[in-house]
Amino acid sequence: MTMESAVADTEGATREPVLSLKGVSKGFGAVRALTDINLDIYPGEVVAIVGDNGAGKSTLVKILAGVHPQDSGTIMFDGQVVSIPTPTASRALGIATVFQDLALCDNLDVVSNLFLGREIRNGLSLDEEEMEQRAWSLLRQLSAKIPSVRIAVASLSGGQRQTVAIARSLIGEPSVVILDEPTAALGVAQTAEVLNLVERLRERGLGVLLISHNMADVQAVADRVVVLRLGRNNGDFHVADVSYEEIISAITGATDNVVTRRASAHAGSASAAAAAADASGTGTVESGITEDFRTHETPAPGTEENPQS
């Protein structure tokens, strides 16, 4: 078994990604938060983004949510190049983002929260009945364990609030849902609820982007794991053929990344090992690993360099 699963496999042959990022970079002043990020999300797929603190996960989410536009690179949505200058634009495209703080109004009940800003009107007044019915049907589709839709969100548990926040994101019929740390600060039972919910979103054919630190949760629900390290792609794995340790080694930088592989492809096979070690700035200890890597995956650098093929 190779250390890293083949990323550019045949997946693209029959299906089109719903959301695709190519060479996206973002800087804040002198800080390069993201450099040359590539990411594809297919419909009905859960992609987890993992990485250490400062790896650029939140910046990536914010670019997709329209909080900060990217400096360079393209974002394709349903095959069209799009720009996402504002959160409204992101939502209008069909990207729903559930932020870590959920952004729910504690004093309002579940129905009001779900339809906040998108209330259904009946002439001049609100159509409370219709909204309540739609809220129930949505929560039921998600098999949500919410006892009543007319209680204030303040009295719900952490998992139930997460459920409400996710349900709210579905009101606009999105095709991609981004969940930022949905299981952080939740108990086991609530985590179970949220993970089931992610599976349900997947069954509905939505693309799900899951940001998480918890490797057990990631491995439980994700189809693919994308590792970011210091603002760069450092691995794209199919969960089915990757071990926990391999993901961790990509997060910590113990294994090779796109840059070293690209360098080794350019340098040719003779001087590849040296160039790889050079480009990644790794010491002599890692160069052995890099060498090992290169021999395992001669086709990988080529496909990685031109992911469209």
Partner: protein, 393 residues
């Protein structure tokens, strides 16, 4: 019969429907206050109050005073006077935990997806926490818990209490599950192979009821069989009988995770199916294939039919050997129904020695994904002697 027929629209039938609604809502949430019940069922608080009063006096429900948002409230749960039992089912990618009373009524249920190659210590910790949470939701304490049954998707060595072969569940190798869990919960814990327990559940509550010689096939990521012979689970000398997935059906076939070649599981098991489809459909889960096949996707239908045919060949051997009265097909893949069962039945018909009229009938399981968790609970209930005086309220 005539007067037992429900009269739609009458007061009685409405009341009956409302009762069912309330019981269903409590089953789903574990426990609710009366106000929440009114919200969840859409019934008026007065109706809820009346029905709860009626059902608790008949012993079906149990109420206890509590508070919600600072107000006094009645917390309503299903009654569990005799004590509770829990059945836990670990499969390769899922965990399901069912809390049941002595009458096999499930009072609370949870399930969650698990990581590939999950590890015993993590998952048993999670189970303990989930269990505490569930007991809390039905207004019970650890004292009400009488026994725990655990279903593990691997053959168990009866002597050591660990998995009988290392490598089948990598994260669980060498863990004496029952001992470890007993130390966490301070309750008796009984562990058995998930296929055996699924068979037990189908035998007691499901599709194999009353069939004293039956086989339940568990077809999912792995393939196993639970054998009910003469009304008892047959475990064999070492407790590892029923490893149906590791019967060889192709001498030089693909390598199996057990180390042999051409095992049924290496050809028709979940990972083998998914690998075969990956080139065409990308990375999927078993459930996706079932859903696609049911929606009419020819590639998925073909994959399931092929699996059914291979399983049928092995099942025919099993029938020739054991002569069961009925074969129940359960597990994740069985949700595909006749897409799987048709080719399976056909393959059995072809290779079985007896005539058509003596052939066992091959049916889909009735308990679905819950079978093994229920079986684990039943297994725990069977092992414990309930002395009524001991626990009278």
């Amino acid at each position: 019969m005539e007067d037992q027929r429900r009269t739609p629209g009458s007061q009685t039938s409405l009341r009956e429907a409302n009762r069912a609604r309330i019981v269903d809502a409590i089953k789903k949430h574990g426990g609710l206050t009366q106000v929440e019940l009114a919200g969840a069922t859409g019934l008026s608080p007065a109706t809820v109050s009346n029905i709860v009063k009626e059902l608790s006096s008949s012993g079906l429900l149990h109420t206890a005073p509590s508070t919600r948002s600072g107000r006094r409230a009645q917390h309503v749960t299903l009654a569990h006077a005799l004590g509770l039992f829990v059945g836990v089912h670990f499969s390769t990618r899922h965990m399901r935990i069912a809390l049941a009373d002595a009458a096999h009524t499930v009072v609370a249920e949870h399930h969650m997806p698990l990581a590939k190659d999950h590890r015993a210590d993590n998952e048993l910790d999670k189970t303990t926490l989930l269990l505490a949470d569930m007991l809390d939701s039905v207004d019970a304490s650890m004292q009400d818990l009488l026994a725990v049954g655990i279903a593990v998707p691997a053959p168990m060595d009866a002597e050591t209490g660990t998995t009988a072969r290392s490598g089948i569940m990598r994260g669980w190798d060498g863990v004496a599950v029952a001992d470890v869990m007993e130390r966490r919960l301070k309750r008796p814990v009984y562990v058995d192979n998930a296929a055996n327990l699924a068979a037990l559940a189908e035998f007691r509550l499901g599709a194999a009821r009353g069939k004293r010689n039956s086989v339940t096939l568990d077809i999912g990521d792995g393939i196993g069989a639970g054998l009910i012979l003469n009304g008892e689970i047959f475990r064999g000398h070492n407790g590892v009988a029923g490893e149906f997935g590791h019967t060889t059906i192709l001498e030089d076939g693909p390598l199996c995770r057990c180390g042999n070649r051409g095992c049924l599981e290496a050809i028709a098991g979940g990972p083998a199916l998914l690998d075969g489809l990956r080139d065409q459909l990308g990375s999927l889960k078993l459930n996706d294939i079932v859903l696609r096949a049911m929606a009419g996707d020819p590639v998925s239908m073909r994959a399931i039919a092929d699996a059914g045919r291979h399983i049928g060949v092995a099942a025919a051997n099993l029938c020739n050997l054991l002569d069961p009265e009925r074969i129940v097909v359960g597990g994740e893949l069985s949700r595909a129904g006749e897409l799987l069962l048709g080719p399976l039945r056909h393959a059995v018909e072809r290779s079985i020695i007896v005539g058509r009229d003596l052939m066992p009938d091959i049916v889909q399981g009735q308990l679905g994904a819950r079978a093994a968790a229920l079986g684990a609970a039943i297994f725990a209930i069977d092992r414990v002697n309930i002395v009524p005086d001991d626990r009278s309220v």
